[in-house]
């Protein structure tokens, strides 16, 4: 059984990883950076939601998810 804290940590980690991965796509294309396009904006929004949601779940501790 997964707890709220564990779920929160997983979501936060997933959101953070996704954010870095999305931005890294542009960083790897250094020199050809054309801004954050609409698809990246959608993906970054999703990643941000995951991260924030995860952070707010962590304080809920060992309650079952």
């Amino acid at each position: 059984m997964i707890t709220k804290r564990q779920m929160g940590l997983s979501l936060a980690a997933g959101g953070l990883f996704a954010t870095f991965a999305i931005l890294a796509v542009d960083m790897l294309k250094a020199g050809n950076f054309a801004g954050i396009g609409p698809m990246q904006q959608i993906a970054l929004t999703g990643a941000g939601i995951l991260l924030l949601t995860g952070l707010t779940l962590i304080p809920l501790g060992n309650r079952p998810a």
Partner: protein, 545 residues
């Protein structure tokens, strides 16, 4: 006497309010039953229409015909008849017995798809009833699904999407019931869980999009019983993979090419975001209630399978931005939201009942008003009879929509009035086809019959009507062409040599090189309007033309 009168006068306003509230609930029920009637009018009209209403229906019929002959529809598109399916087989296999009995008829698949939506609605109602124990609420939840513009548009078409939604809905509801029972009794029920897995497998092999529901189910299971979820996930993935490999081997790799590679299409962000916004605008009440309950469960309770399913399905709705995708990609999220909204309302009513009669009356009134607001948001109504028109005008709605016939191969045409209103916007899907549309289809077929060959065309219906070969699946060809997976040499040569006596275009979905050859070797001779689309009938150019 004074005490009696005092008690009565104290009770009367509360009894009156409750009655008024139930009257509003009855009104809401009436409205949603009205939508159900409209849905049946549309479905019955479609059952009687013998040609393609929506692009692609004829190819689903062709897939079913091939299965009925014991043949795979996953074929090499390089050679005549340049046809292949891009969808998994379950929906078509279910319809095969009807093809054996009645022959290649459009109504067979439309009927099965329609019945699938009724099953989905019934299962939604059952899910809500399990928790709320209020029959009127369960009925409204189920009817709210059928009342959605998106479900109405696509439900009775010969398309597999809604059949997938049926399997998904049954799977998630059964999963919920199974886990609830296990947690109550303390005994594992692997048989029922196996049934859930079979339903998920059927959903995935109806349409690939079911992966979102599969992910939701295993996420829920992982949260509740992590080890068990992993074991079942391994088994599920194994079985799915084995079936995939077996089909791929049997079709010499055409299964992978046509159902996976050909579905890799460009993503159009504005399309995805636009449909997301429209989905929210049309289903606001359901989405807000579902979201509220999901958030409540996230922070204050255990997450239900419904809540996880809703979030995954809503996120997956963004894939509607893929070229060739559309509003139906939100159908799963709509089903999930109907269940969650119904449960949320049931809980709210129970809470208010505990607080007293007045609170309950107020809550009931609010619930009825919310359903009426939701009903107004999804307003869609055919107006082709005086009675139907009267209903629309009485409700303050227009009696017709103005839209120009869609054409890609002729000059633009003037807008015309069509007897169908839809809050989802001006479009050509949703208006019940009529006798004029059937006559137009017969005219096109007669024009094709003046030649000897099957027509090279974007709708399969005319060749079916004439008993000729079904040639090409244009959107499939275009997808394969864009992914470098089709050799157009033979097709090009046949068109260059004018071996097809007729070409029938509607949306010009063919790969550009094919359209270029058609433009050089064929000439538009007739324009026929059917279902609000202009069909261009071309025959070979003579020398000097």
């Amino acid at each position: 006497m004074t005490e009696f009168r005092s008690r009565l006068s104290g009770n009367l306003p509360q009894v009156g309010w409750r009655h008024l509230a139930y009257l509003l609930v009855a009104l809401a029920l009436l409205v949603f039953v009205g939508y159900f009637i409209a849905y049946n009018i549309y479905a019955i009209s479609l059952f009687q229409f013998p040609f393609d209403y929506d692009q692609g229906e004829g190819f689903e019929l062709m897939d079913t015909v091939l299965f009925s002959r014991g043949e795979w529809p996953y074929l090499n598109n390089d050679s005549y008849p340049f046809y292949s399916s891009n969808y998994p087989p379950v929906f078509h296999l279910v319809i095969v017995p009807l093809i054996w009995i009645f022959g290649p008829k459009y109504w067979t698949g439309r009927l099965v798809a329609y019945l699938g939506t009724l099953i989905t609605a019934a299962v939604i109602g059952y899910a809500v009833q399990r928790e709320s124990k209020r029959w009127w609420l369960s009925t409204l939840a189920g009817l709210a699904f059928l009342a959605s513009n998106y479900v109405y548009h696509v439900g009775p078409l010969f398309r597999q999407h809604m059949f997938m939604v049926m399997f998904e809905t049954v799977a998630v509801v059964l999963l919920t019931a199974t886990i609830n029972a296990e947690e109550t009794t303390g005994k594992k029920d692997n048989r029922r869980l196996l049934l859930v897995m079979i339903l998920l497998l059927l959903a995935g092999y109806t349409k690939q999009l079911a992966y979102a529901t599969v992910a939701a189910v295993f996420t829920f299971l992982f949260l509740r019983q992590s080890k068990r979820a992993i074991l079942w996930a391994i088994a599920f993935a194994g079985v799915t993979g084995i079936i995939f490999l077996l089909i791929n081997l049997s079709t010499n790799g055409q299964w992978l090419t046509n159902t996976v590679t050909a579905n890799i299409n460009p993503y159009i962000p504005s399309q995805g975001i636009g449909l997301l916004r429209q989905w929210f605008k049309l289903h606001t009440i359901l989405i807000l209630l579902a979201s509220a309950l999901a958030l409540y469960q996230l922070y204050f309770e255990r997450l239900s399978a419904y809540a996880i399913w809703f979030v995954f399905a809503a996120a997956n709705g963004l894939t509607s931005g893929k070229w060739g995708a559309g509003e139906s990609y939100f159908a799963t999220a709509i089903a999930a939201s109907c269940i969650l909204a119904g449960i949320a309302i049931g809980r709210g009513l129970s809470w208010s009942e505990r607080r007293g009669e007045r609170w309950f009356a107020i809550a009931l009134t609010v619930v009825a008003m919310l359903f009426l607001i939701q009903a107004n948001k999804v307003f869609h109504w055919p107006t082709h009879t005086p009675l139907l028109e009267k209903v629309a005008t009485t409700l303050g709605k227009p009696k017709e929509t103005f839209v120009a016939p869609q054409t890609s191969c002729s000059l633009p045409r003037e807008v015309v009035a069509i007897p169908y209103i839809d809050s989802a916007g001006v479009g050509l899907i949703g208006r019940p086809p009529n006798a004029e549309d059937t006559a137009a289809g017969v005219t096109i077929s007669q024009l094709i019959s003046e030649g000897d060959s099957a027509s090279f065309g974007e709708d399969a219906g005319f060749n079916f009507y004439l008993g000729r070969d079904i040639i090409t699946n244009p959107t499939q060809l275009l997808n394969l062409y864009n992914n470098g997976q089709v050799d157009l040499t033979e097709m090009s040569a046949m068109l260059e040599n004018q071996e097809f006596d007729t070409v029938v275009l509607r949306a010009q979905f063919y790969p550009p090189p094919i359209l270029e050859i058609i433009g050089r070797q064929y000439l538009t001779r007739h324009l026929v309007e059917m279902n609000g689309f202009v069909y261009c009938i071309l025959t070979p150019k003579d020398l000097g033309e």
